[in-house]
């Protein structure tokens, strides 16, 4: 009795409040700060920029959420993105494939990465971290070899419909935002509302117990890795449609932000679990910070450092919250 009372007292005190709502305070502080110190942050056009600029990261972060939910991690999300872009551009440029087939081919290209991960993790029992790290190195090297050292493959005369996947709009909403929103919705339904998602959460929380309960753990892990990588390929489609080219190793820049977004999302979940809404908040938060710094004219190179600081701060807050519980 006295124990729970003292916990309550700590929760209500100023220190407890700070820890409990620390992340909300952090977001608000950044938002107010950027609004006050830059003239162009707080207007609808710039806010839309943030959302639009976050579309690809959101797609990758959702794929990461899927894997982290099942207790793993995927360091090859960027590689799957690259493969998606490469397969689509090459299919259209060298084989004259119609744009919608190219999108399918991109999904296949991304899935190859997932297949390799799935094989390593499920069949060979390599830990997800090591398996996807291996895939990351292999995939990076393959791209360099294929492009003779990393030069981009551009295709200026790409079909306008393909290009519209990135630069088009529907009733004024950029199509990449719409695509990301659809992926977001699907992931939300599957991970947070379906029985497939329930099983995935069980696997991530306690794999042995999930197996004893008759859940086909290996099947879920196997297809999970493939679905995640195919999702990343959608990001590759948007990226390549935007630039009308395949840029080798472009996906790498999203890796750390995707991980950060998922763990920020988990940190603000009441039970500390990876979750789709949390990932969305994490992505938008990182996008806001990058945008605000940009507007303030800060060196682009400081962005990673700031992402790192935010991530560490959030995780520290999450640990403190857990102690209060």
């Amino acid at each position: 009795m006295s124990d729970s009372e003292s916990v309550k007292a700590r929760m209500i005190g100023p220190h407890g409040l700070l820890v409990r709502y620390g992340f909300v305070i952090l977001i608000a502080a950044f938002f107010v700060f950027f609004s006050l110190y830059t003239s162009s942050f707080l207007n609808s056009e710039n806010l839309m920029n943030i959302v639009e600029g976050s579309a690809i990261l959101l797609i990758l972060a959702l794929a990461m959420t899927l894997i982290v939910t099942m207790g793993g991690i995927d360091l090859s999300v960027g590689i799957a993105l690259d493969f998606g872009a490469a397969f689509a551009i090459v299919a259209m440029k060298d084989y004259g494939v119609a744009w919608y087939f190219a999108v399918l081919i991109a999904l296949v290209g991304g899935s190859l990465i997932g297949l390799l991960n799935a094989f390593l993790v499920v069949k060979l029992s390599v830990s997800p971290f090591m398996a996807t790290l291996g895939t990351f190195f292999i995939g990076s090297s393959v791209q360099r070899i294929f492009t003779n050292g990393g030069g981009p493959i551009s295709f200026r005369r790409v079909d306008q419909s393909y290009r519209d996947l990135a630069v088009g709009d529907v009733y004024g909403i950029p199509s990449e935002v719409i695509i990301a929103a659809v992926v977001l919705l699907l992931y939300f339904i599957v991970l947070e509302r379906s029985i497939i998602g329930k099983r995935m959460h069980a696997i991530g929380l306690q794999q042995s117990a999930a197996a004893i309960a008759g859940i086909k753990v290996k099947h879920y892990l196997f297809f999970g890795f493939i679905v995640a990588s195919a999702t990343c390929a959608i990001g590759g489609v948007i990226g390549s449609a935007n630039l009308r080219m395949f840029t080798p190793l472009a996906g790498y820049s999203y890796l750390l932000d995707a991980i950060a977004a998922v763990f920020i999302g988990a940190a603000i979940h009441p039970l500390g679990r990876p979750n789709v809404p949390g990932t969305l908040i994490g992505v938008l938060f990182l996008g806001m910070v990058a945008n605000g710094l940009n507007l303030m004219g800060l060196d682009f190179n400081t962005k990673d450092a700031l992402s790192g600081i935010i991530l560490v701060l959030t995780l520290a807050l999450a640990v403190m919250q857990k102690r209060l519980r």
Binding site: I189, R193, S194, I195, I196, K198, R199, H201, A202, L205, Q206, S208, A209, A210, A211, I212, A213, G214, I215, K216, K218, L271
Partner: protein, 505 residues
């Protein structure tokens, strides 16, 4: 000044929330003797050892080592008093050498770093002189047999030469009889060097062969002390270990047993488990008895597809079923309540309702989406039937008591239409009230025509519950006790000595 008594523990009481693990228990070890400590699971053996080790703080009672009363009793103060513990688990690093392992955490170092050669020499000498074992100091742990690893573990605890009392906790559990002999030789050698020992074991044959005196625990108290142990003391010990009113605890066996329903033929994991045949009838409660290391766990795991079967067949109602994973077992109608509830039974951080519905999520879904109200109602229904408390199925399973957690696992399988229920240590860590309810549930299951396989280290539980009991010993099924042969004497002598009943009759 030196008295005859080396260790004197008196009136030790230790209470955990809801459980009185030790109730005024006592333990007294004389200088230079090997003192056996026996009792059924949950009798309080490990609790009093942990109190002695300073891991648990006693509620009351006194502990005197060598006439002194170390206060407070902490792992460090007990170590300083010369008491060493040889735990059941080895805790050795496979790619360390013998010398490195023996001196791990107590390395000999001089001004120029580690004295590797000296450590190796001392390790070899100690192993040879104190334990009568010739093990090269530069051999890697992973290349040693289990018995040799055990000796290295013992050497590690004793090499500083300051030990006066050594506590062995089930030292031979993972060993076969040849390997056990190696450890006994070492123990006798230690005795000849004047070291006193407490020997905790389920193997009564070892106790009578090795020990000078024995303390018997039951229900957290010392019920008997034998000052002189002879070869024929086994009966006396068994009587002291058992002897409780089991009639109230178990339901009346009123169910009718049908024809053969489930059978395994030649099932083996290709490792510890010898090829095994067993048939279970419809509406029958079959028990599996056996000590730690008897292969009981391997049998259950192989049966359920947790361990890969190397050979053998499983058939259910006359049809051969292929079980390579738990999900295939569940699909065939075979379900498991695992022994390790907190790791394998429950997803502790999920709600009770999720844990209950986990195996049958389709039933609470619409088009693949979870129907939360249905899920909660279904879980609530079965929770009410089983009287799961607190009655809040949205609470996280972690914070429920052992008995209620076990009911949650049972509830998950009761709402399926399963035909064979495997219960592995169903009442470990379960309070007496929930125990009785779980036994009644099992009785209801078989009354409805399901078959049940109960694996347990509690002979009283097996005798009270089962129609027949299969006995395992060192990896093999020795015999099956039929209904009219069920007695504590038969069971204990077969599990501890591995004698088929034909040989002892």
């Amino acid at each position: 000044m030196e008295s005859d008594v080396l260790l004197e523990m008196q009136g030790i009481t230790k209470t955990f929330p809801g459980v009185k693990a030790l109730d005024s228990a006592s333990l007294r070890v004389s200088r230079g003797e090997i003192h056996g400590l026996v009792g059924e699971n949950g009798a309080g053996k490990s609790t009093i050892i942990k109190v002695l080790a300073g891991v648990y703080q006693r509620d009351s009672g006194s502990v005197r080592i060598n006439g002194k009363q170390p206060e407070p009793l902490t792992p460090a103060s007990v170590h300083d008093a010369g008491v060493r513990f040889i735990h059941q688990e080895l805790h050795l690093v496979p790619h360390f050498t013998v010398a490195e392992s023996v001196f791990m955490g107590q390395e000999l170092a001089g001004a120029f770093g580690l004295k590797r050669r000296l450590m190796r020499e001392r390790a070899e000498t100690f192993l040879k002189e104190a334990l009568q074992a010739n093990i090269p100091g530069n051999a890697l742990i992973r290349d040693l047999g289990v018995a040799e690893r055990k000796l290295v573990q013992i050497a590690r605890a004793l090499v500083d030469g300051k030990a006066s009392l050594v506590v062995f906790d089930e030292p031979t559990a993972p060993l076969d009889s040849g390997e056990s002999e190696q450890v006994f030789t070492a123990i006798r050698q230690l005795k000849s060097r004047g070291i006193s020992m407490i020997y905790v074991s389920h193997y009564l044959a070892e106790i009578t062969a090795l020990c000078d005196s024995v303390t018997v625990f039951r229900n957290g108290s010392t019920v008997s002390v034998l000052e002189q142990v002879e070869a024929n003391s086994t009966d006396t010990i068994i009587q002291a270990m058992v002897g409780r009113d089991i009639d109230a605890l178990y339901p009346e066996k009123s169910h009718a047993v049908g024809g053969a329903f489930f059978s395994v033929g030649g099932l083996t994991d290709g490792q510890r488990l010898q090829p095994l045949d067993l048939t279970i009838n419809r509406g029958e409660i079959m028990g599996v008895a056996g000590l730690i290391g008897s292969g009981r766990e391997e049998f259950i795991d192989t049966l359920y597809g947790v361990r890969a079967a190397h050979a053998g067949s499983i058939s259910l109602a006359g049809n051969v079923v292929n079980i390579r994973s738990p999900s295939e077992a569940v699909a065939a109608g075979i379900v498991l309540v695992p022994r390790d509830r907190r790791h394998d039974g429950l997803v502790l951080d999920m709600a009770v309702s999720d844990n209950i519905n986990l195996a049958t999520l389709e039933a609470v879904s619409v088009a693949g989406l979870e129907h939360r109200r249905k899920a909660t109602e279904r879980a609530d229904d079965i929770a009410a039937t089983l009287d799961i408390r607190p009655r809040n199925v949205n609470a996280v399973a972690r914070y429920f008591s052992g008995g209620n957690q076990q009911k949650v696992v049972l509830a998950r399988w009761l709402i399926t239409q399963s035909r064979l229920f495997i219960l592995d240590e169903p009442t470990v860590g379960v309070d007496i009230g929930a125990k009785v309810e779980i036994y009644q549930l099992v009785e209801n299951l078989v009354a409805e025509g399901a078959s049940v396989l109960v694996s347990s280290s509690d002979p009283g539980e097996l005798l009270g519950l089962c129609d027949r009991i299969a006995v395992m010993y060192r990896g093999a099924l020795v015999d099956v006790l039929e209904h009219d042969e069920l007695s504590m004497d038969n069971l204990i002598s077969m599990t501890t000595a591995g004698i088929p009943r034909a040989a002892e009759a």
